[in-house]
């Protein structure tokens, strides 16, 4: 592959199109918009003591094959000093199909671990103290079910529910736009999300029942400005739904959390997080009258890597992840996941997963960049870009409001179309050489080096083992209890005033499978009809 132009340029604008001043000066900085760390307007972070009080959580996304395979990887990562677990689930579990379903069969255990029922989760966390570790689940369409399964697992292990910490992603709106693991139509999905959040506020007060995510729309093509704007707009949609279902915003807002990608444009990323944090607090305060600062705190996790990683010359990805992790630290992230360098084309090997983990440990404990709170605060360029970013985000949110809100924009396919067009633009910029990717469109090697030597393979027998275990559970569980809890779930789904969570927990305890629960709810609610627009 040849380079489109001989010489790359530095450029004068960020990836999202913000102009970067050649010489920024004090005239670009307004001290009132900056404030102090730990208090409104939160530009400088949500904690007065930054990372000195508590370092970000080092949390590596991991999961593949059977629960036994993944349990072994978790024990390895915890032994190496990882401080939180992040569960990757396979697509059948995410989309609500049991492993024996013909749609599910080719995907069992491929992009994550298969968890079709409580017995699998008991294996997944075998030997891991759920009261001492925080666990994050990237789960959306079936988030309520997986959360119920986690509660049932804790019950069986004798861990008090109030001790549980962690997160379920549980952000269905962005699934319709970018990630695609939707199941039900928008309205019942919003109800299910409100149910989990209101239930979790009581049952597991230290657990985050939602992580409103911009990461996936960003990876799909959105700019940094749009990533933050769509996410805040979705966040407000959840706040409205929770209020409709009787929630107290000052209470539930304390447990809303967020999730983003970090890409290569360093100052833009730092500015994105500072602007988003400031704007979220302002929106909750102005629109909903929230004054309790704990409820105004914008807590977020990040992924460093994703689509910014490329297959050619894959070791370069280690450098990319390092730069992105620094942006996350200067942006004040609460939890960081660093992708492995081979993640652009495979599930990481144990070696590459370890380097990703070490990258964070080196930045945390060797580099010293986390010693001072918001160390880039007051930088002319960073403060200027933060202001520009906030204005840009506000503008995009207004466009969504003008269209009729996020739910309408999604049901019509309008938002999806915007992202697709943006993705084409992004690709064209790379093809033209306006965006530089070292080793791919510039400085590429003629031999097209792509391999990394070591490749990871999911055990080819994993799916067969999963199916075998699944059949055994269905044969040996108490069939009467399974049918009784399922029937109760079906009745509760038909009644909009019920909270579904207790019914789902009962189903999990009875070893009802994910697919069975989903089918029962589908019978009541139907399925989302994707608006296919191009």
């Amino acid at each position: 592959m040849s380079s489109p132009t001989p010489k790359p340029r530095l450029g004068t604008h960020t990836m999202a199109g913000l102009e970067v001043p050649l010489r920024a000066g004090p005239e670009l900085v307004d001290p009132d918009r900056i404030g102090e760390p730990g208090t409104m307007p939160f530009t400088r972070g949500i904690f007065a003591d930054g990372y000195q009080g508590r370092l970000w959580t080092i949390r590596q996304y991991s999961g593949f094959g059977t629960a036994e395979d993944t349990n072994a990887r978790y024990r390895f990562l915890l032994d190496q000093g990882q401080t939180g677990l992040s569960v990757a689930l396979d697509l059948p579990t995410q989309c609500g199909y049991d492993p024996v379903d013909p749609m599910a069969r080719p995907e069992v255990g491929k992009v994550g671990v298969s968890l079709s029922n409580l017995a699998e989760m008991e294996i997944l966390f075998d030997g891991i103290d759920l009261g001492a570790i925080s666990t994050s689940f990237t789960i959306n369409g079936t988030a309520a079910i997986i959360y119920a399964m986690y509660l049932a697992t804790a019950d069986k292990l004798g861990v008090p529910r109030e001790k549980l910490t962690g997160t379920i992603q549980n952000d269905i709106l962005k699934e319709y736009v970018a990630r695609g693991t939707w199941i039900f139509p928008v309205r019942p999905s919003m109800r299910l999300i409100a149910d989990t959040i209101l239930y979790a506020n009581e049952a597991t007060p230290r657990f985050n029942p939602i992580s409103i995510a911009g990461a996936h729309v960003r990876d799909a093509g959105a700019t940094a400005i749009e990533e933050m704007a769509y996410t805040l707009a979705n966040g407000l949609a959840y706040v409205d739904e929770l209020q409709r279902r009787g929630g107290d915003v000052a209470r539930f807002a304390r447990r809303l959390s967020f999730f983003f990608y970090v890409h290569q444009d360093f100052f833009e990323e730092v500015a994105k997080f500072r602007a988003g944090r400031r704007l979220w607090a302002k929106l909750l305060n102005e629109r909903y009258g929230v004054t309790d600062e704990k409820a105004l705190m914008f807590r977020f996790g990040v992924v460093c890597g994703g689509s910014s990683l490329v297959a050619p010359q894959p070791l370069n990805n280690i450098v990319r992840v390092t730069v992105e992790t620094m942006a996350a630290v200067f942006g004040g992230a609460q939890s960081i996941f660093t992708c492995a360098y081979d993640e652009a084309f495979q599930i990481p090997t144990e070696t590459s997963a370890e380097i990703a983990l070490r990258t964070q440990q080196i930045l945390a404990y060797e580099s010293g960049i986390g010693r001072s709170v918001d160390a880039l605060g007051g930088s002319y360029v960073v403060e200027h870009l933060t202001n520009q970013m906030e204005d840009g985000i506000t503008e995009v949110m207004r466009e969504i409001d003008d269209y009729g809100g996020v739910e309408k924009a999604i049901e019509d396919g309008w938002l999806q179309m915007r992202i697709a067009e943006r993705a084409l633009e992004r690709k064209q910029k790379v093809d033209r050489g306006d965006t530089v990717i070292v080793g791919q469109n510039f400085f590429a090697r003629d031999d097209g080096e792509r391999g990394v030597g070591e490749t990871f393979h999911v055990d080819p027998n994993a799916a067969a083992r999963v199916v075998e275990k699944y059949e055994r559970i269905r044969d040996t569980r108490d069939a009467v209890a399974a049918e009784r809890t399922l029937a109760a779930l079906g009745r509760a789904a038909a009644n909009d005033d019920e909270n579904l969570m207790p019914y789902l927990v009962d189903c999990c305890h009875a070893y009802v499978t994910v697919g069975e629960m989903v089918e029962r709810m589908k019978a009541q609610w139907g399925e989302f009809q994707e608006p296919v627009r191009l």
Binding site: M1, P4, L91, P92, Q94, C95, Y97, P102, M103, A104, R105, P106, E107, K110, V111, E175, A178, R179, G180, T181, D219, A220, G221, S307, V310, A311, P312, A344, F345, Q346, I347, I419, A420, E421, A423, L424, K427, Q428, V430, D431, R432, I437, Q440, N441, R450, G451, T455, V458, Q529, E530, V532, R533, L534
Partner: protein, 146 residues
């Protein structure tokens, strides 16, 4: 099945090497990563092709049926979940069962090099990844369908 045909997005210099070709862009299985499929669909349209996009979560049977009903010249399968070998095999079999083995099959997504030979043995005519320029993909398709 709810499929779509597209509006035009400016794709720079106008050249239409795929004029007269009908191409189905499809997402088999449960993989929800559709942006690559959509970008390619838009680029193929800008290159002159008539493009039909299936949307997410289609079974191999559904894809083969649409390919036959729409009388397409080619099917592009987008798969990023690692299930490409199994899903491509199933789509090829379904096309055969529909007496449509002459429809060219292309694959895009996350496909390790070591799997290319197996896919080609199934009859796949081209395999593309996200780091390839769109112009290169279009040129390859135009040559294969000439």
């Amino acid at each position: 099945m709810n499929t779509s045909t597209a509006t035009t997005v400016d794709n720079g210099p106008t050249s239409t090497p795929l004029r007269g070709k009908r191409i189905l862009v499809a997402k088999p299985g449960l993989d929800g990563h559709d942006i690559g499929a959509k970008v390619v669909a838009l680029a193929l349209r800008n290159a002159g092709a008539e493009v039909i996009y299936t949307g997410l979560r289609k079974s191999p049977q559904q894809i083969a049926r649409v390919a036959v009903d729409e009388g397409v010249d080619a099917v592009g399968l987008s798969i990023l979940s690692g299930s490409h070998l199994e899903l491509v095999r199933q789509v090829v079999e379904c096309l055969g069962a529909e007496d449509a083995a002459d429809i060219a099959v292309f694959v895009g997504g996350t496909v390790p090099h070591e799997d290319h030979a197996d896919l080609e043995a199934l009859g796949v005519r081209g395999i593309y990844t996200s780091d390839q320029p769109l112009a290169e993909v279009i040129a390859a398709l135009a040559a294969a369908l000439a």
